[in-house]
Amino acid sequence: MTTGSKAGRRVEWMLTLPSLLWLVVLFVIPTVLVLAISFRPPTPSGGVGDGWTLQTVLALRNPSYPVIVWRTLRLSAETALICLFFGLPVAYLMARSSDRAKRVLLLLVIVPFWTSFLIRIFAWKVLLHPEGVMKQAFAWAGLVAPDASLMYNEGAVLLVLVYTYLPFAILPLYAAAERFDFGLVDAAMDLGCHKFRALLNVFIPGISRGLATALVVVFVPALGSYVIPDIVGGPGGEMLGNKIAQRVFVDRNLPHASALSSLLTVAVVVPMLAGLALRRHRVRPGGVK
């Protein structure tokens, strides 16, 4: 086509420039700003001081942070793994269903997406209410003490995280399973594999791209969770997101908030970009034709 020509270049710039400029101004510059402010001192009145300092970043060594960072990583990883565990059979069933059943199942998975996510979290508060039906049933069964609360602990945070992100895991898994050739499973069984082994050895590797995507789309947003631990988490369920929000909305310590954000940014964006660079070069080599 006209890729190489001058007119082609002009068209390319015309198409590229709007989104490029927009994202540079409203995404790159703000992110760099966060990184920069991490090295500024805070002022007691809640502003950003002049000059440069390592104090803020070094303050991250304070023992209170590793606890939160570790909890954030652990809860996110647990969420991702649980979502994969439950998402896989669902995606498998969907991919093997008739076209009509597929559509219905897909809709059933997507519709909760379209109810406000805050409202769904709030519904869990009602479900887990210490005077609610669930709790009373548990107490009656002797599973929990009569005055105990099901909420405000790490378990509740994990439960609601899984609830929120499970559809995000199902969709890419389903997309991958849908493209998978189930004849391969039959072939493996024909070659003497037990059905479970056949699925493990053929189906799982066959949808590895989908698995990776599902893992990323659950794990990464979970790292930034803020609302869920805020609403159902207790004093011991704080995650990195809550700390950032606290620094911004309560302590008004922007450099500290920036340092924490930078930590999260580096943890998320750097591996992402590296993966992207690798994949783009593998998948889209050079030109078309």
Binding site: M1, S5, G286, G287, K289
Partner: protein
């Protein structure tokens, strides 16, 4: 060699095009006469499609020019050229009805509504699809799509119609039927067709003239008969039809227009027709088409221009119209076609493991220059046993 230097309606002059440093088209000069069906024939990757796309304006050549009716159109963008293309997979617009697909070019030109309606309806009549006009491309068959694609191009009255392997997506039966239809359409509209194909059968059946292309260059231009009977080189001989190749050395002359050739692995020397000045010691390829051999269970009497070798039937494949034999003769395996003619049924057909005699007349062989090394992979050189 073999390039056409005469004046023509559509002319390529020294056209070259490279992709990522690889030459797809290398200094091609060709001319197409007005009103003829001209085919570009060659294996995939030979540059024929690139040449067609250069003609359509979809690629810009790195060097050379394209002239249409004496006018240089090299720099003209595709939408300003008086040529139209029938694409390989037809490229019908899936969101438009067949009627709208055909009307597309006229609408873009901004013709009056009534005129568009008339022309599209006439074109639908020509391809006999008037009753399907409202359908979407997804709802019709491959053959119908092809007809619509042709109609969509023809309705613009191009000076040249470019066809990029238009039959490749069809099955064998349909292909044969469409070939006839294409020919009919050509007769009816009397346009110049530039036809790209890798299928020699299509090219032979349809074309007035063929340009055989390989590695971005034109190997030979000629009528189908010329190309089959007197291939310009080993590549053409191998690509057009099936043949047996033997590497040989000219030993000397054998009367007017014949030479004696020594072939390694043959027990005897071979007499062969020679139309070029060759002297003893020249390296040549000897090409003999499988249908030119005669195979029988008894040796025949030798004549002055007869060749005969003895061999063993290694393999036989029944093809319906004929039988293909693979016969080990000396150090060579010969591919031989035997027609199932009534005249030959007197004799019991040779069978597996039979000792047979393979004969051919000196005029049935053809001597060619040796091919370039780069072509080696393309050639079905007879196996050395």
């Amino acid at each position: 060699m073999g390039t056409d230097t005469g004046q023509g309606f559509l002319r390529f002059e020294g056209v070259s095009k490279a992709f990522d440093g690889v030459k797809a088209v290398d200094g091609v000069t060709l001319s197409v006469r007005k009103g003829e069906i001209f085919s570009l024939l060659g294996p995939s990757g030979c540059g024929k499609t690139t040449l067609l796309r250069i003609c359509a304006g979809l690629e810009t050549p790195d060097a050379g020019r394209v002239l249409l009716d004496g006018r240089d159109i090299t720099e003209l963008p595709p939408h300003e050229r008086p040529v139209n293309t029938v694409f390989q997979n037809y490229a019908l617009f899936p969101h438009l009805s067949l009627w709208e697909n055909i009307a597309f070019g006229l609408r873009v030109k901004g013709l009056p509504r009534q005129r568009i309606r008339d022309e599209v309806d006439a074109m639908l009549g020509l391809i006999q699809m008037t009753d399907q006009a409202h359908k979407k491309p997804a709802q019709i068959s491959g053959g119908q799509k092809q007809r619509v694609a042709i109609a969509r191009a023809l309705v613009n009255r191009p000076q040249v119609l470019l066809l990029d392997e238009p039959l490749a997506a069809l099955d064998l039966k349909l292909r044969q039927k469409m070939l006839v239809e294409l020919d009919d359409i050509h007769d009816e509209v009397g346009l110049t067709f530039l036809y790209v194909t890798h299928d020699q059968g299509e090219a032979m059946g349809l074309s007035d003239r063929i340009a055989v292309m390989n590695n971005g260059v034109v190997e030979q231009v000629g009528t189908p008969g010329e190309i089959y009977e007197t291939p310009g080189n080993s590549f053409t001989a191998a690509f057009i039809g099936d043949t047996n190749f033997f590497e040989g050395v000219v030993k000397g002359a054998a009367g007017d227009g014949y030479s004696v050739v020594g072939v390694d692995g043959f027990p005897c020397e071979v007499v062969c027709f020679n139309d070029r000045p060759r002297k003893a010691g020249d390296q040549v390829h000897l090409s003999i088409r499988p249908e030119r051999f005669v195979v029988s269970l008894q040796p025949a009497e030798a004549g002055p221009l007869h060749n005969q070798v003895e061999g063993i039937v290694e393999e036989m494949i029944y093809l319906g119209a004929q039988t293909r034999y693979r016969i080990l003769a000396g150090a060579h395996r010969l591919s031989v076609l035997r027609q199932h003619s009534r005249f030959l049924l007197d004799e019991k057909p040779p069978s597996w493991k039979d000792r047979v005699w393979v004969r051919w007349h000196a005029d049935d062989g053809y001597m060619l220059e040796r091919f370039r090394d780069s072509d080696r992979g393309l050639l079905p050189l007879s196996e050395q046993a």
